[in-house]
């Protein structure tokens, strides 16, 4: 046994013991999240369990739709009455840290994160080496396809290369039935950019390298060209891919109703797919991202979420918040050695990131749907977390959508996306 797991065990126990100390004064910690009602109920149950041993601390959950999370955070963080704890997408961390809105983790919590989470995940929760929160979910993209539609189209297995992918998309397309081969998302920044970035990574490219955008690389140009080809052949229909503010809408409707053969989507959609498809969820299979002509293998995009503590909260609130997070993410708060956070994430089909949670849920992660994601995780490329990341994402989204709707060509989209990205990242770095 190496010293790392031992150290983790020690720290976990120490944090858990510390967390059971009664609080001298009443403190209310608010927890801002975008989770759906059923998950919020689980979080509230965990908070109630925590409150039994911490009679002076009340954890209050505030839930907003995903589309409003960043706005709520930006407008309330650091203000009196703002959320003490917030669940954030790691892309937002650099700007929140720059503006001193998030509290640097106390030493014990920072060591806890560095010890009990994989290095890459802990790094994504840090800026300049300083840990700012507890990582929780990790999401990765993979190809989802409808096995029944594959069977009907006479396709034996999931496409492994872009040529096979295009051929499968064309075979799956049936205009008379209103059926498209491959579904592309629009009107949702991450939903548009992440599948594109996954195909780009599988073609040996990257969105950003050493802080410089690479959208005019040959790898990126070929990825834009792939989109153009799918659109022009009719294998992908842009109007079937609209998402609304809750990340639902026609894109989801068309896949769950069997009008879309393949999509590239993240594991957290499992609950949405199950809810929409019922028993037909068994028709959904997961496969690695098809590899492009310049690719060395399937690589998808991964990103993580984390919980941070507001720097504007009072000292007592910050102390209580970090203590709650240590317990909530620790190995004693859930079932069978898992954390309560891990239990909660698993209820949504989301991959936990804490090392002990991954071990605790080993069997659950072997389901046909999730195992496809777990398999590609090790080769996934993290989405670049840079200053100006949100604007960069939205700018790229605009070019990809223009291509999807035939408003621009692949070459023009690549050139415009690169010019915009250079301007945005340079300005953000100033």
């Amino acid at each position: 046994m190496t010293i790392r797991p031992l150290m983790g065990l020690f720290l976990g126990s120490a944090m858990a013991a510390f967390s059971s100390v009664a609080w001298a004064e009443d403190v209310t910690v608010s927890f801002l999240t975008h989770w759906p009602p059923e998950t919020v109920a689980k979080l509230e149950a965990a908070a109630a369990t925590y409150a039994k041993d911490h009679p002076g601390v009340k954890v209050e959950v505030r839930a907003v739709p995903f589309g409003d999370l960043l706005t709520t955070l930006r407008s309330q963080a650091g203000q009196a009455g703002g959320p003490t704890i917030a669940g954030i997408y790691d892309l937002w961390l650099p700007e929140l840290a720059r503006d001193k809105l998030v509290n640097a983790a106390p030493d014990a919590n920072a060591t806890d994160v560095k010890t009990n989470w994989p290095n890459g995940v802990a790094t994504a929760a840090s800026v300049g080496g300083t840990v700012y929160g507890y990582p929780n979910e990790i999401d990765v993209y993979a190809l989802n396809y409808n096995k029944k539609l594959f069977e009907e189209a006479g396709i034996k297995e999931a496409p492994k290369t872009w040529d096979e992918f295009v051929a499968a998309a064309e075979k799956l397309t049936n205009k008379d039935k209103g059926q498209q081969g491959f579904g592309m998302i629009n009107s949702w920044a991450a939903g548009v950019v992440h599948p594109f970035a996954s195909l780009l990574a599988s073609n040996g490219g990257a969105l950003v390298v050493d802080g410089k955008p690479q959208l005019d690389s040959e790898n990126a140009k070929e990825t834009f060209a792939l989109y153009e080809k799918l659109i022009q052949s009719g294998a992908s229909v842009a109007t079937m891919g609209t998402a609304d503010a809750n990340t639902t809408g026609p894109f989801l409707d068309n896949f769950v109703s069997g009008k879309t053969g393949m999509i590239i989507m993240a594991n957290w959609w499992e609950s949405a797919l199950k809810a929409g498809m019922g028993d037909r969820f068994a028709d959904v299979a997961t496969a690695p991202i098809p590899v492009g002509p310049k690719g060395d293998g399937p690589h998808s995009i991964s990103y993580s979420w984390m919980t941070v503590v507001s720097d504007g909260a009072s000292d007592a609130e910050k102390k209580a918040a970090w203590d709650f997070l240590a317990w909530f993410n620790g190995p004693t708060s859930g079932e069978n050695g898992a954390s309560a956070m891990g239990d909660l994430l698993q209820s949504m089909g989301i991959l936990p990131s804490r090392t002990s949670d991954v071990a605790a849920f080993a069997d659950r992660l072997k389901t046909p749907f999730l195992s496809g994601y777990v398999d590609v995780l090790s080769e996934a490329r993290p989405f670049p977390t840079v200053l100006g990341g949100q604007e960069f994402t939205e700018s790229l989204q605009a070019q990809i959508e223009a291509l999807q709707f035939g408003k621009t060509t692949a070459a023009e989209a690549a050139a415009a996306a690169q010019a915009d990205a250079v301007s945005i990242l340079e300005k953000a770095a100033q």
């Binding site: 930006r74 963080a77 609209t242 609304d244 999807q404």
Partner: protein, 295 residues
């Protein structure tokens, strides 16, 4: 005399003070921030003066300028289409309801006004389903008359018009009530005199009703314009500015830049530009109406 002035000032001070604190100060602050680089996540003291840079950027050729100009055009199109559809419809409905002999006029008035009272969140949710390309009732109804499915909110060519139709549905009742109020101000003796002179039907409407409704129509047009420029909820709830930025209107874009991206200086410059554009447009409308009055 001095005592009178003092007491007038003392009586006006509370009201003027409140206006200054809650209206003038925020406007002045926004104007000042428009000339600064400022992250909305930081105190005002962290804002640094950068002159006209924000304005150069929003009218420039980078993605910031392109998106801003696109949002301005979308807002202008949305406003014009809304006014062009709402005003004639509200005049038609107003005339119908105003006819004393129409049975059920009160019921029709209630139904029309009810749409204005429904919260936008409910309207947006319902319309997003009505517009659904595959399962939406609108496309099903069109199929009965042999018209193929329309993409509605899912295409950059039709999304903005779809949002306009939603707005018209919700607002037309309110403007109908305004038109009815205007119609009741027209003395019946004028109509009687016109009828005695032989005016009938369309001539009565064109030469009597419309000119006498001009002030009501002008007021309605200005209110409809202000409402249209402030459109936010349906975009935020249904389309998020897409697809391809086709429904990205000014208020939504300012929120995205100023709050989501935390670029408070840029967002303020956009707000100031929008305010100026609105003030100029409304002033132009009133100036045009005044010139027509003089004729």
């Amino acid at each position: 005399m001095i005592g009178l002035r003092k007491s007038i000032f003392a009586m006006l001070a509370p009201g003027l003070g409140l206006i200054a604190v809650f209206i003038l100060v925020p406007i002045a602050l926004t104007v000042w921030l428009a000339f600064t680089k400022w992250s909305v996540q930081t105190p005002f003291s962290s804002a640094t003066f950068i002159g006209l840079d924000n304005f150069r950027e929003i009218f420039g050729s980078t993605s910031v300028g392109r998106d801003f100009k696109g949002a301005m055009i979308n807002t202008a199109l949305y406003s014009v289409l809304s006014i062009v559809l709402i005003l004639p419809l509200s005049v038609v409905f107003g005339m119908l309801i105003h006819q004393a002999e129409l049975k059920g006029a009160n019921l029709l008035r209630t139904i029309l006004f009810a749409t204005y009272m429904v919260p936008m969140i409910a309207v947006a949710l319902v319309f997003s389903k009505l517009y659904s390309p595959t399962e939406g009732p609108f496309n099903q109804i069109l199929s009965w008359v042999g018209i193929g499915p329309q993409p509605w909110l899912s295409s950059p060519d039709t999304a903005l018009v779809s949002i306009v139709l939603l707005n018209v549905w919700q607002q037309v009742g309110y403007f109908t009530i305004l038109i009815i109020a205007g119609l009741t101000q027209i003395p019946t003796s004028i109509y009687e005199a016109a009828r005695m002179d032989g005016a009938r039907g369309p001539a009565l409407f064109g030469y009597m009703t419309l000119p006498l409704l001009r002030r009501t129509l002008l007021f309605s047009a200005v209110i409809a314009l202000i409402n249209a420029v402030q459109v936010f909820e349906p975009v935020a709830l249904i389309t998020q500015g897409g697809p391809v930025g086709s429904t990205n209107v000014m208020t939504y874009h300012i929120r995205r830049v100023g709050i989501e991206r935390a670029q408070g200086g840029l967002g303020s410059a956009m707000s100031v530009t929008l305010l100026l554009a609105l003030v100029i447009t409304v002033t132009a409308v009133f100036a045009f109406a005044r010139r027509e009055d003089r004729r």
